[in-house]
């Protein structure tokens, strides 16, 4: 029987080694935070339990794309059942759930476990933290929708659908997805940054995504029945979901599923762009203000 080596003996065995290597600047630190957060949004580098939900939701998100491809291949249809530009809106409930999980994962945990002061004790500035987290959530949302689109696109090419049509539609779908991701990231991150309690963040994000959306749809139905179809388009300005639906229909050649099925007027279309940009800018401004004091 031999005694295990005392831990102290091992401590003294290794002399201290200086670090003489390079110290990369703020840009590198920002990128590191971006990558770390992006991985975290899918539970990578975290416990198995933290991986389950995001990966599960992602699989569900991809399922319709896989099914679509299978249908097109077997039935020989000449187009995909769901348009690229409409995929995100079509999968809104799953997308909303993922956002409600990912945004608090990204910022509430840092607040709750008080990791923020550690970040700010490094060379990065407070604004860098906001930029990195915003970019990271945007990227994770973009992948969440973009990968199913990629599956559809590759599948449609394998099924010998028209290459030019599919490529144009796919490109438009990616643009719609990018706008979709930035807008939702801005809203989700701002809400999540308000509370260190993850549960509150999840509930608040789901509420902000769904309540205005259903209110808007109800009002649209009323407006349509009362014989003012022009008002329908304007009402759509008041929820993130309807904003994006109108935007992709007006500018990216998608279909508009608003009650009355009337395309937005040019004035309303311009208003959609302005409101989307304004919401993103406002959320970003409020986020930077929030982090001026946090930690």
């Amino acid at each position: 029987m031999t005694a295990p080596p005392a831990p102290d003996a091992r401590i003294h065995d290794i002399g201290y080694r200086r670090y003489e290597g390079e110290r990369l600047g703020a840009m590198y630190a920002r990128c590191s935070l971006f990558v770390h957060s992006l991985r975290g949004a899918y539970g990578l580098g975290r416990s198995a339990r933290s991986k389950m939900l995001p990966i599960g939701l992602f699989v569900i998100m991809c399922a319709p794309a896989v099914v679509m491809v299978a249908v097109v291949m077997t039935t020989g249809r000449d187009e995909l059942p769901i348009e690229y530009t409409a995929y995100g809106v079509f999968m809104q409930p799953i997308f909303g759930l993922y956002l409600a999980l990912a945004a608090p994962q990204m910022v509430s945990l840092d607040l709750r476990y008080k990791t923020i002061p550690l970040y700010f004790s490094r060379p990065i500035e407070r604004g860098d933290y906001v930029i990195a987290k915003f970019a990271s959530l945007t990227a994770s949302l973009f992948l969440f929708v973009g990968i199913p689109l990629l599956i559809s696109y590759v599948g449609s090419l394998l099924a010998k659908l028209d290459f030019a049509d599919q490529t144009t539609a796919f490109a438009r779908g990616l643009v719609a997805t990018a706008v979709f991701a930035v807008l939702h990231a801005a809203i989700g991150l701002l809400i999540a940054s308000m509370t260190p309690r993850r549960g509150f963040g999840v509930a608040a994000i789901i509420s902000v995504l769904t309540i205005p959306y259903f209110a808007v749809i109800s009002l649209m139905v009323v407006a349509d029945e009362q014989g003012s179809p022009d008002a329908v388009g304007w009402i759509g300005l008041f929820s993130p979901g309807s904003l994006l639906e109108g935007f992709q229909a007006k500018f990216l050649g998608g279909e508009l599923e608003f009650p009355g099925d009337q395309m937005l007027t040019n004035a309303a279309g311009a208003a959609y762009v302005v409101v989307i940009a304004a919401i993103i800018a406002l959320c970003y401004f409020l986020l930077t203000r929030r982090y001026r004091k946090a930690g």
Binding site: I14, Y16, E22, H36, L109, Y113, K114, T115, P117, R122
Partner: protein, 328 residues
């Protein structure tokens, strides 16, 4: 060369003045920053990191102005906060690597330094497990590791012994001593106990209510505060034994003051410079001289000696010296 310098540094919050015209000059080595709760220790650290603006005065860290060059300072400084700061579902390795990269270390260097640093702070197999299951002692080690991983020139440790049991406290203090002695990194460490910091510090700065109470090297500190407490009885020839002892000691050139009851405090005189191999040895030699003198005087006077004990002043007494009100 100064590592940290402040010049009438003031921090006012709406209701309190956390730092009040604080002027200190801290050199290399281990410096203990001692103060009661709310003394302004954490506030000072935040200003030094360039994270909070001072209301008045200036702070310089490693020759850089904390108000304008925060980023450059933070690249060379490590910080261990007083509160918990570790996400529970991440392993120590994953976390410290991430923090190393946040300090600008490339991926492979970050991994190497993380492995080294975690071993230096005494974390082995546990480092691959999620930190939520760690004991307080292990968490404190990870917090220390993330402050050291980028090989800073200075670390600011805010109450590193907080929440540790006596054994854990001793290990942490030993580790802090090694940060300077073996790693060559200067340390500013806070605590509300002077007793624990004077064991490992080269210098001690005591603040209270945001004001500087005293700043001294440890040798100077113990000289000024070491004393001998002697309790004597009265005798027939000397109905006031305490008075007689005070007079006799004064005649021998020793400074003594009356304490409560029959107690007399005798200050240890300053040891002659270069009297022995080191300040501690010199201190002991002086103590022996004082002991002998007291024994002789008490015997000459024919008083009864009840007890005689060596004392080192603790933080509460240091506060009493400076202020009436004691909050610790």
């Amino acid at each position: 060369m100064s590592v940290i310098q402040t010049e009438s540094l003031t921090k006012r919050y709406p209701r309190v003045t956390a730092l009040d015209r604080l002027t200190v000059d801290i050199g290399p080595g281990v410096t203990g920053l001692v103060g009661a709760n709310g003394a302004g220790k954490s506030t000072l650290i935040k200003i030094l990191l360039g994270l909070a603006p001072a209301s008045d005065g200036t702070a310089t860290v490693l020759g850089r102005n904390a108000a304008h060059e925060g980023g450059a300072i933070r690249e060379q400084v490590g910080y261990m906060p007083e509160h918990d700061c570790l996400p529970p579902d991440v392993s120590a390795t994953e976390f410290v690597v991430h923090m190393a990269r946040m300090s600008g270390l490339p991926r492979t260097s970050a991994r190497e330094r993380t492995a080294d640093t975690l071993r230096h702070v005494g974390l082995y197999e546990e480092r691959y497990r999620p930190m939520g299951g760690y004991s307080t002692g292990m968490k404190q080690r990870v917090k220390l590791a993330q402050a050291l991983v980028h090989d800073p020139k200075l670390v600011l440790l805010d109450e590193p012994t907080n929440g540790l049991d006596p054994a854990g406290r001793d290990e942490m203090l030993g580790l802090i001593r090694r940060i300077h002695a073996e790693f060559g990194i200067s340390v500013l460490v806070t605590s509300h106990l002077l007793g624990e910091l004077e064991r490992i510090s080269d210098h001690v700065v005591v603040i209270d209510g945001g004001k500087l109470l005293r700043a001294q090297s440890i040798a100077g500190f113990t000289e000024a505060t070491a004393s001998l407490a002697v309790e004597v009885t009265d005798s027939d020839t000397h109905p006031d034994g305490t008075r007689a002892l005070l007079d006799a000691l004064a005649a021998r050139g020793l400074t003594a003051t009356a304490g409560t009851g029959h107690i007399v405090h005798i200050d240890a005189p300053e040891p002659a410079p270069a009297a022995g191999p080191g300040p501690e040895a010199a201190q002991e030699a002086v103590q022996d001289v004082v002991h002998d003198a007291v024994r002789d005087v008490v015997a000459d006077l024919g008083l009864g000696l009840i007890r005689m004990e060596q004392r080192r002043h603790r933080i509460a007494e240091v506060f009493q010296d400076g202020r009436e009100e004691v909050r610790s």
